[in-house]
């Protein structure tokens, strides 16, 4: 009983502590996590303030936490591997989170890669769509279950190997981006599907959003390192993951070129390699003044030594913004300009 009382009093005591906070709290995307943590660490080392705590919750989960309200027990920043949605912005506003600062920090290239001992792969988005969609149009434009077994079935220029693609599961942001950037674009290059989009947009969405489930596409889990290891062991398999993993493992795997662009730092930055997505962080401006260090943290993030071409984020695999866009982002971020809901989708 004494211990119980002790525990209860401990609870009461800590409830008081929770009110004040001198440490920045960040939630959100696991894709932006490796970059935000690097900034957080530098910020902690150089500013003399506490190092921010960065949680890896996923973009959607992060938005939900970020939009839950204002106050010391709510996060100050959220990482996102896509732009905030209009619905999320409205949810934020409903809970009093009205002043949101958007900072575009760079790009993340998505790569389709295979083992160095395997063949050199050159894909188009259309070929990838045909290889991976659950239903594809046949000669007459009618949708049938995906009949392709080997890459050669899809296109004669591709190797005569079984289609075996290791990729992220449906819960992953990487998968969402891959589906939007490759599958949707690939589907749009096929005339019968273009026509379908006009006549029945919903049916079209189902076509490009559905990945085949007959064993050709294998959910390899959220851990990109595991996919790399499996590719190394199986030269016939093809994997889908973020560019930074390709850069780190260039002794084991090589990236396939898609629509004429091979994935390199330069081609992603210049936009020549088109399978890339922008990465964002969002700041809660209403916390400035209550939580110490928020403006300084943003400044560290957009500083040249972090986000610049030779900055430490580039060394960590982030593809940084091109010159003019970087300047614009920097000015907007340092001025803590808030976004308005009507520009969002």
């Amino acid at each position: 009983m004494k211990r119980l009382l002790l525990a209860a009093s401990l609870l009461a005591l800590t409830a008081g502590i929770a009110q004040a906070r001198d440490q920045i709290r960040i939630v959100g995307s696991s894709t932006v996590y490796p970059f935000t943590t690097a900034v957080a660490e530098q910020f902690g080392k150089t500013s003399g303030m506490k190092t921010p705590v960065v949680e890896s919750t996923g973009t959607g989960g992060g938005m939900k936490l970020f939009c839950a309200g204002i106050g010391a027990d709510q996060p100050d920043f959220t990482n996102a591997s896509r732009q905030i949605k209009k619905s999320e912005f409205e949810d934020c506003a409903k809970h009093g989170v009205t002043d949101i600062v958007e900072i575009k920090v760079g790009f993340d290239g998505l790569t389709v890669a295979n083992s160095k001992t395997g063949p050199d792969l050159i894909f188009t988005k259309q070929q990838l769509f045909l290889a991976l969609a659950k239903e594809v149009p046949d000669k007459d434009g009618k949708l049938v279950a995906n009949p392709y077994k080997t890459w050669k079935d899809v296109d004669a220029s591709l190797p005569d190997e079984k289609i075996e693609v290791l990729g992220p599961p449906p819960t992953s942001g990487t998968r969402d981006s891959f589906v939007e950037l490759v599958m949707e674009q690939g589907a749009l290059t096929i005339d019968s599907l273009k026509a379908l989009k006009k006549s029945d947009a919903k049916a079209f969405d189902t076509v490009w959003k559905s990945i085949r489930e007959d064993g050709a596409y294998i959910d390899a889990g959220e851990n990109d390192n595991l996919i790399v290891q499996k590719l190394e062991a199986n030269p016939k398999a093809v994997g889908i993951f973020g560019y930074s993993f390709l850069e780190e493992n260039q002794n084991k795997i090589k990236g396939a070129s898609i629509d004429g662009g091979a994935p390199t730092y330069e081609t992603i930055a210049s936009g020549e390699y088109k399978v890339a997505r922008p990465l964002f962080i969002y700041a809660k401006k209403q916390h400035v003044g209550t939580i110490p260090g928020m403006v300084e943290f943003v400044k560290e993030y957009v500083s040249d030594k972090a986000m610049g071409e030779d900055g430490y984020l580039a060394a960590k695999g982030l593809v940084t913004l091109p010159g003019d866009e970087a300047k614009k982002t920097k000015a907007a971020a340092e001025g803590m300009e808030t976004i308005k809901g009507d520009q969002l989708m």
């Binding site: 490796p34 190092t51 027990d73 930074s244 780190e248 960590k316």
Partner: protein
């Protein structure tokens, strides 16, 4: 009542066959058992060997011993000797200057930047700590261990490429040919050049770029331009051959040659990485440590233990010895058994709703983690404690009651001490279970990058399995060995806990 009523007795030979069959069955079963254990043992050995092989490099780091001038002007211009002032001093410049001094031939800006890239971004941390601990060093020269970057460290550990060094017995002539060079030796066959080999001569390094044909000069491209084109005598030049081609490594030929130079100068050393145990998480693999996660795990388990043990044992004693047997207690019993089988993520959701949203406790705190894990292991402990109490022979309690002890005295003085070893085992199993949990902690924000080592129950903290999960997901290759290293630490933690349980049990058993 005649003999005919009795069945014919079984013949001896029949009996023998039956007995033999039974023995055979028994031997077969023993064999199955041994085979099962052998298979398990093989898997266990493979698992441990794999983890050890991957994880051991995490406990070592590559450093270079530099002689650094502790510059008064850069570190403590006012000569205040105040650690606070010294902390903000510029320690990077002296370290960089003395590192550059090892390579006087590197002069271009781009090359110097590349050279400094071999040092860790935390290279000056040890130096700073050293000077803060001993301000008397200011103004003198100090021997400082300087940490290399993760890629350089991987190279030094031989995980980027193999290296062969060949010292040919032959003279070498170098000719310049525009931007490139050509090499010739007296007998190319005996030297055995290959494309990609690097020839070091006259203070430069040239990479063989073209076909190696006898009687012809061998084309080569510049890695570092040689200082002169004088003929080189036998023994004054050598060949460095990397087994992995340059395009497949993160360290290029020039960087690799610099690192080779460090090795040859004898300043590079491979020491135990104490910082793996003394620092918190970091995004730089060479700086990352598990102190934060270890402290987080200890703090969390302390909260769990101090909540679970008294509540669990009290509940078990009451339910087993005092509670009336009726519908209500039956319902409670069934529910405790059910709770023990509830997936752990559900407790995380409960923790989020109750401790964070309702009580307003801080996110990511070991206190909340401990509370959630306490909910998780409480049913296990109650069930184990009840089983242990039930296993004590009733005669003990009855004897105590017989000499006039009260019910409570009989239980607390006689039954409980005898049941203690069983309760301890149950508790330790519960704790081990809690030590390995990540799912419920995800919900309460403990899956996070936390640099500062937690000092209290309300500081933000991660725990060991979460640290393993977070590291396994990072792109840097060096984090893979850190991941395995953290697994080794987690296993050792587990062994220590189990050993403590066995020791405690032994002590209790001896007393009774």
């Amino acid at each position: 009542m005649t003999d005919t009523a009795i069945a014919a007795p079984r013949r001896f030979s029949d009996n023998d066959a039956l007995v033999a069959k039974r023995y055979r069955a028994e031997r077969r079963f023993k064999l199955y058992g041994i085979a099962a254990i052998a298979v398990t043992a093989i898997f266990l050995v493979l698992l441990f060997a794999d983890i050890l092989a991957r994880g051991l490099p995490a406990f070592f780091e590559s450093r270079i011993d530099l002689s650094v001038k502790v510059d008064q002007a850069a570190i403590d211009p006012q000569n205040s000797k105040d650690p606070k002032v010294i902390r903000t001093g510029d320690f990077d410049t002296p370290v960089r200057d003395s590192f550059r001094a090892l390579f006087p031939e590197v002069t271009s800006r781009a090359d110097r930047k590349k050279l400094l890239g071999l040092l860790s971004s935390g290279a000056a941390d040890d130096f700073r700590k050293m000077v803060m601990g001993n301000p008397g060093l200011i103004g003198q020269d100090a021997k400082v261990p300087v940490l290399l970057s993760d890629d350089a460290d991987q190279y030094m550990k031989g995980r980027q490429t193999g290296v062969e060094r060949i010292k040919p017995i032959d003279g070498l002539t170098i000719k310049q040919n525009g931007e490139n060079y050509t090499l010739s030796v007296v007998s190319p066959e005996s030297v055995g050049f290959k494309i990609g080999d690097i020839v070091r001569a006259n203070g430069g390094a040239l990479r063989i770029s073209g076909p190696v044909e006898t009687d012809k000069e061998i084309p080569a491209e510049t890695v570092t331009a040689p200082k002169s084109l004088d003929p080189v005598a036998s023994g004054a030049w050598d060949i460095v051959r990397f087994t992995v081609p340059e395009s497949s490594r993160r360290i290029d030929d020039q960087e690799a040659l610099w690192l080779e130079q460090l090795k040859e100068q004898g300043v590079a050393e491979n020491g135990i990485a104490w910082r793996f145990f003394s620092s918190g998480d970091s995004r730089e693999p060479e700086l990352a440590g598990i102190r934060g996660a270890l402290m987080g795990s200890i703090l969390t388990l302390l909260v769990t233990l101090f909540l679970c043990l008294p509540i669990g044992v009290a509940a078990a004693i009451y339910l087993e010895e005092f509670a009336p047997k009726n519908r209500l207690t039956q319902l409670i019993e069934v529910n405790i058994n059910n709770l023990a089988a509830v997936p752990s993520i559900v407790f995380g959701l409960l923790g989020l709703a109750m401790f964070l949203n309702f009580f307003g406790l801080p996110r990511s705190a070991p206190l909340v983690g401990g509370l959630v894990l306490a909910l998780l292991v409480l049913p296990t402990i109650i069930i184990a404690a009840r089983a242990a109490l039930r296993a004590v022979p009733p005669s003990i309690k009855e004897a105590a009651l017989g000499v006039g002890a009260s019910h409570q005295q009989a239980i607390f003085h006689h039954v409980l001490p005898l049941a203690m070893p069983g309760i301890m085992t149950g508790t330790i199993i519960g704790m081990a279970h809690a030590l390995g949990e990540t799912a419920p902690l995800l919900m309460i924000g403990m899956v996070a990058f936390i640099v500062d080592v937690p000092a209290g129950f309300t500081d933000a903290a991660a725990v060991l399995p979460i640290q393993i999960y977070l590291w396994s997901d990072l792109p840097e290759i060096a984090f893979q060995s850190k991941t395995a290293g953290a697994i080794i630490v987690l296993l050792v933690f587990l062994f220590v806990m189990n050993a403590a349980a066995i020791l405690l049990r032994k002590r209790f058993e001896r007393r009774w």
